[in-house]
Subunit: 265 residues, 2 copies
C-alpha cells in the first residue's frame, strides 16, 4: 500500500508540477474547438473610422466584381491604407531598414497578453497617456510582465468604433483627442522588460494630440510591433490570455490589416 501510495503521489507530482493539470491539454482543446477564442478584430467596412488625411488614402473602399441575387458580393476587390482598421505597425513604419510586415518572424506573432485597463482614467481625460506607474500597478497585481508579452492598453475607445466622430473625437481645430502610450512607458517596456509588442483599442499608440509620434519611434525603433484599433479588450483577463496576431503579408509593407485571436485557456 505504501508503494502504491508513493506511486500515486509520484504520478500527481510528476504530472501536475511542470505544466498544470494533465486533463487540460490546451493545444488539443484549441484544435478541438473547446478553448475560448476571442476575436480582437473589428470588421473592416466603408463605415470604419479611418485616420483623416487630405487625400483619404487611408480609408477602405470595396468594388463588387460579381454579386448574388440577394445583392451580396460573390467576389470583389478593395483598397485601403495599410494602417486602417485593426492593423499592425511593422518596425519599419517608424525606422528605416528594419523588419517590414512580411519579415516579422512568425514566432513573434504568438505571445502572452497583458491588459492594462485605464478606461476609468480615459473616460474623464481623452488625452490620457499610459504611465510607468500604470505598468507597475499592473505588476503589483499580476507579477512582472512575462517574457515576450504584448502589452495591451485598454482605454474603452473600442466601444466608440461604430461612431467614427466619437472615435476620432476631433475638436474645433481638427485635432484628435484619444489616449495613448507615453514615451516614458514605451522606454520602460523596451529597456526594462522583454516585450514583443504593444497594442491599443484606438487609432494610434501615440495619443491623438501627438504630431511627432514619439511613442511610435521608441517601440518601432526598438524592433517591436504595434497593434492598433484592437477590438474586444474588455473581454480579456488582465493576465492569462494568449494572442495570435496574423497580419496580411505585404512584401515590404510598413504594416497591414491584422487578424488577432485571443485564446483564454
Amino acid at each position: 500500500m505504501r508503494c502504491i501510495g508513493f506511486a500515486i503521489m509520484t504520478l500527481f507530482l510528476g504530472c501536475n508540477q511542470p505544466n498544470g493539470d494533465i486533463s487540460e491539454d490546451k493545444f488539443q482543446k484549441l484544435f478541438d474547438g473547446e478553448l475560448t477564442i476571442i476575436d480582437l478584430t473589428h470588421s473592416l467596412s466603408t463605415k470604419s473610422p479611418f485616420w483623416p488625411n487630405s487625400s483619404n488614402q487611408n480609408s477602405f473602399s470595396y468594388t463588387p466584381i460579381s454579386t448574388h441575387p440577394s445583392g451580396a458580393a460573390a467576389m470583389g476587390s478593395y483598397s485601403t491604407g495599410e494602417h486602417n482598421g485593426t492593423h499592425l505597425d511593422a518596425p519599419i513604419h517608424f525606422k528605416d531598414s528594419v523588419a517590414s510586415v512580411d519579415e516579422i518572424p512568425p514566432s513573434d506573432l504568438f505571445a502572452p497578453a497583458a491588459v492594462i485597463d485605464v478606461s476609468a482614467k480615459c473616460s474623464t481625460n481623452s488625452d490620457y497617456r499610459l504611465t510607468v506607474e500604470d505598468i507597475k500597478e499592473w505588476e503589483d497585481r499580476n507579477g512582472t510582465l512575462p517574457k515576450g508579452v504584448v502589452v495591451l492598453m485598454y482605454t474603452g475607445w473600442s466601444k466608440k468604433w461604430d461612431d467614427p466622430e466619437a472615435y476620432r473625437n476631433q475638436d474645433e481645430f481638427g485635432k484628435m483627442h484619444f489616449p495613448g502610450f507615453s514615451v516614458e512607458a514605451n522606454q520602460f517596456l523596451v529597456n526594462e522588460r522583454a516585450i514583443k509588442g504593444i497594442g491599443i483599442d484606438n487609432l494610434s499608440i501615440d495619443y491623438g494630440l501627438s504630431t511627432s509620434f514619439d511613442a511610435h519611434g521608441v517601440t518601432n525603433g526598438a524592433g517591436k510591433y504595434h497593434l492598433e484599433n484592437v477590438a474586444n479588450l474588455h473581454l480579456l483577463p488582465q493576465k492569462g490570455a494568449y494572442l495570435i496576431s496574423a497580419p496580411i503579408k505585404i512584401e515590404g509593407g510598413s504594416g497591414g490589416q491584422v487578424r488577432i485571436f485571443a485564446l483564454i485557456p
Copy 2:
C-alpha cells in the same frame, strides 16, 4: 528499488497515456517560440501571379504615402482582389446568403491538416484532378481523415510562384492548365467526412480548364472554406500538422487574403 521502479513506471504510463509526453506542453511551447511554425503564406506584391481577367481587378497595387531615405515605404495604401495571393474563399463566394469571410467562426479557422501529395501525377498532367481514390490512399497510410480537418492538395505548383507565366500555364487559346480537386472528391469530403475546408497550392481548387467551377460549388455550397495559393506545403508532414488560417475581416467579404500558419508539434 522495486517500489521506485514501480513509481517511475506509473509516472511514465500516467503521463503518457492521455496526452502524449508530459515534457511536451505544446501550447506552452507554441507561445515560448519552441514549436515549429511554418508560414504557408506567399508574400503579396505587384509581381504575384493573379487570376487574369479583362479589367485586372484581381491584381495587387501599392501606393506609398510616405517613404524612408532608403526608399522603403514608411506608410502606404494598396488595392487588390479579395481572391488574390494566398487567400480564403468564404462559403458566400459560391452560394448566396451563407457565411461571408467575417462570419466564419474563429474556431473553424483552427484545424488539423491532411496533406495529399499528388505532385508526381501533376508533374506529368497539368490538368490532373484529385480523385476519391487519392483520398482513400492517404487514409490507407494515415487512417481516416480526422474530424474538422482541412484537406490540402499538394500539386507542386507553389514552386512556380515566382514565375507567373508558368504558374498560370496558359495555352495558345489563353486557357489555364493547373490541377485541382474533382467534383467527386469534394462530394466525398463533404458527405462522407467531417472537414472544415480544403486548400491547394495554386490559383484555384477547381482545375485551370474549369469554366463552371463545379468543385467550388460543392464545398462552398456545403459551408466549407477554401485556401488557395497556399505556400510551403512541401514542408508539411502528410499528417500531424495543425493550421491557423487568419483571413482579413472584410465586412460581407466573399473572401480575402489569409495568413496561414502551420504548427508542427
